[in-house]
Symmetry: C2
Subunit: 330 residues, 2 copies
């Protein structure tokens, strides 16, 4: 059995099975944010939580062709900040370990660092330190620490809660079709779509304010794809979801039309989109909308059961339980 | 200019030069533990410090032949804990990002995880989370968080302070000569020496107690080699060091004798030895010894000036300013 047979999620399962056999499942369940939540947490004496996240960017698998080194640096920060955001944590530190190939150029390194520094400044995550070693792949292993007053888990959704998100979906899936499959698009559309992959942004302000509003019951970032995110929230909370509306990004819709693709597929089965997907107490929708700056999108509602399905004119269509995964050779 | 021309320390200098040009030198100097200290720190509201460390283990460059995967996992923890220890911080969390080759075996992965879990348990550093991705090299990017009541920097040594350490040196340098250069040694000696590289231990208890004793003025772990550590403490504190005694490990001495090597060279110019090297207020030597469990070794004394030299029967011999460095093609 090899890593590529297990896939990323199989490896993560193996990791925690070793942990459980040596340390015990109870200790794992007693964590403030037990795996597989977006991040980890440690209670602080003042009642708040230290939220910690490790997320790694490997150029060979995570950078599509034509991504600049500045953008790789910035994205390695965004990936980590987005998970803090989904847990309602404000960043207090960013560190990274950098694996560089021996022939990596100093000017590329300077650009990469420029991206890391700019993104940490943008999100108010002080860059405090790092480590450097040699590896054949360019590897940026980012590590973010944040503080949360009100930790939002993946597991708090109740039937009746409103399912919502901070933005629309599908641009990155379209961009990957351009960048990896060579699909065509007019220059302006192409540029806008590729920007979603090259220059993603984390919903930090929205995440922190939503958590502090007291209106939300579960939360997760959508970086592994919308469909996978919905299924994860469903599994963690023990609820199902009826989806009444999938917000397809306008430009993803244009791209789908050009190539006769199903817009819904682009929106559901993409990845690397850093929106926050969460559930809202039905009585507090107004508060949640206000917390998110007036821009909440209603996806549907949490229901009894354990399935995720789209409701279209009274008919139910299943949402497939799949998403982006490293190391998976499908 | 390539990474291998810059070397690890050149890359780190480049990283901080980008930071300084974008953020400003003042912000860097105002950090509780400014680079290049062993770790980074964030003040907590209760007066203590959150201490954070990122240190990466890459199998291809950091694992000598015959190192087991269990040992690699454990060492990736020890590397990080040792830096917390040198700053007087008790661990509260360990996370890691794992880069695995597609053909990495599940049983090796299980052993690797066993090492990570055992070491985190041994040092009381709760394993809270991780990330998995694909890379051509096996990469373990560890992240440790700890809490310190009394942060010990590299920069606090004053002339007259006693220079001390927690153990003897030279075993790892001898082990690398066996493992990398094929030098011979009787089985028992060989085994004991290789153990220093395969199964290092961090001086966590000593580091935390020394910091809390109030007796020490500067501190650093010796993982880049004793000579380099002495020079770093000298540079950071703006003092010189007169070395009166270099503690050569007994087995390193035996090995040196076998191969007509200079024992002092093994002790000074090795690396991957996780002792703590620190300076003690002269009036508090007893307190420091007690804090370290009675096992302090006196190396010498901090003096005016900026050089590190060995004092032998009244004659002075310079200590070379060199140590282990990644990516350096010398």
């Amino acid at each position: 059995m090899k890593a590529s047979d297990l896939g990323e999620r199989g490896i993560i399962d193996l990791i925690w099975s070793v942990y459980k056999s040596k340390v015990g499942e109870e200790k794992m369940r007693s964590m403030p944010l037990p795996p597989p939540d977006d991040a980890s947490a440690v209670p602080l004496p003042d009642g708040r939580y230290l939220v910690l996240k490790a997320d790694m960017f490997v150029k060979r698998t995570d950078a599509p062709p034509r991504m600049r080194h500045y953008q790789m640096g910035a994205k390695s920060v965004v990936m980590n900040i987005s998970d803090l955001a989904a847990k309602g944590a404000s960043p207090i530190a960013f560190l990274f370990s950098l694996g560089v190939p021996a022939n990596y150029g100093a000017s590329q390194l300077r650009q990469l660092m420029g991206g890391i520094v700019s993104a940490t400044e943008e999100y108010g995550a002080p860059l405090l330190g790092g480590d450097v070693g040699e590896s054949r792949d360019l590897v940026i292993a980012g590590f973010a620490a944040g503080i949360s007053r009100s930790l939002i888990k993946r597991s708090g959704a109740k039937p009746g809660d409103i399912l919502a998100t901070t933005g629309s979906f599908g641009e990155t899936a379209a961009a990957y079709k351009i960048l990896l499959e060579g699909k065509e698009a007019p220059p302006a559309l192409r540029k806008a779509l590729c920007r979603s992959v090259f220059c993603p942004r984390a919903r930090l302000r929205e995440g922190v304010r939503l958590a502090e509003s007291g209106a939300i019951t579960s939360s997760m970032d959508s970086s592994d794809g919308l469909a996978f995110t919905l299924w994860e929230l469903s599994r963690s909370s023990g609820v199902g979801f009826r989806i009444d509306h999938v917000p397809v990004a306008k430009k993803a819709g244009e791209f789908a039309k050009l190539h006769s693709l199903v817009p819904l597929d682009l929106a559901l089965y993409g990845g690397e989109e850093y929106e926050i997907v969460f559930t809202v107490r039905p009585s507090m929708w107004e508060e949640a909308t206000k917390a998110a700056g007036g821009r909440l999108i209603r996806l549907g509602v949490a229901v009894e059961g354990n399935s995720v399905f789209i409701n279209q004119e009274g008919k139910e269509f299943p949402v497939a339980d799949r998403g982006w995964e490293h190391l998976r050779r499908a």
